[in-house]
Symmetry: C2
């Protein structure tokens, strides 16, 4: 996989802030870009440590905060007490079903909903760039 565009964005952001590119930052970012779901910091650290076993918690936290700031990661809270970061997918946006009992998260897509959102927005003269749809309830196991 090639993340040259994302890497470019990150590098530009670091430059602009007078920050440096490091082995750890690059590897954490690279690892994150390969993910497809909303990964928790702990899970990400696990993946990262398979190659670089000495990378610490704080570095992952700091790096993900950076990626969020430069628009490469979306910070999401699903109410289970953990922050998760979502890699911005190449193939479009997905919405979430969240179990309020066991915190299970299921992704789904519904093109019609997206379409209706655009209509509602247009009705109020809004130009929508981004949206967030979360449905809360009980999953099959907790119903």
């Amino acid at each position: 996989m090639n993340f040259s565009k994302k890497n470019e964005t990150l590098k530009a952001y670091l430059d602009a802030k007078g920050m440096k590119s490091t082995t750890q930052r690059d590897f954490i970012a690279e690892t994150f870009f390969k993910t497809t779901t909303h990964i928790s910091l702990e899970e990400l650290l696990g993946k990262v440590r398979k190659k670089h076993s000495s990378i610490g918690y704080a570095t992952v936290y700091r790096t993900m905060k950076l990626l969020n700031e430069c628009g490469l990661a979306i910070d999401r809270q699903f109410g289970d007490g953990q922050s998760r970061y979502e890699n911005i997918p190449e193939d479009g946006h997905h919405d979430h079903l969240i179990c309020i009992k066991c915190s299970k998260i299921v992704e789904f897509q519904n093109q019609k909903i997206e379409q209706l959102q655009s209509e509602s927005a247009k009705k109020h003269g809004f130009t929508v760039l981004n949206h967030k749809l979360e449905l809360y309830g009980y999953c099959p196991d907790c119903a």
Copy 2:
């Protein structure tokens, strides 16, 4: 104000779980039902203690968790490290159009979207109690 319907829902939920109705629970719920914004646990405790000064943190946390579980409160996280709860208005749920430039917020409702949400949820075996839909973009003035 009269919250008989909400109180009924809460009582039914407690009954079904073999839980009891208590002075503290009732008062915390009543206090919460009067709120109109996203109140933090700490703020709610403050309001509650004006009348019942000895009610503890844990009881407020436990009660709000209950209200969330039976669909009477929406748990919201704004990324500031605190949980907030939103009281569900009597006249139905509102979705939000949010301007990323001037922060204007417009509420809207779309019955078809709600319907499609139910369908998506059912497809995954979820029972949805509440939802959150936020559309981010530019309002007419900022477009």
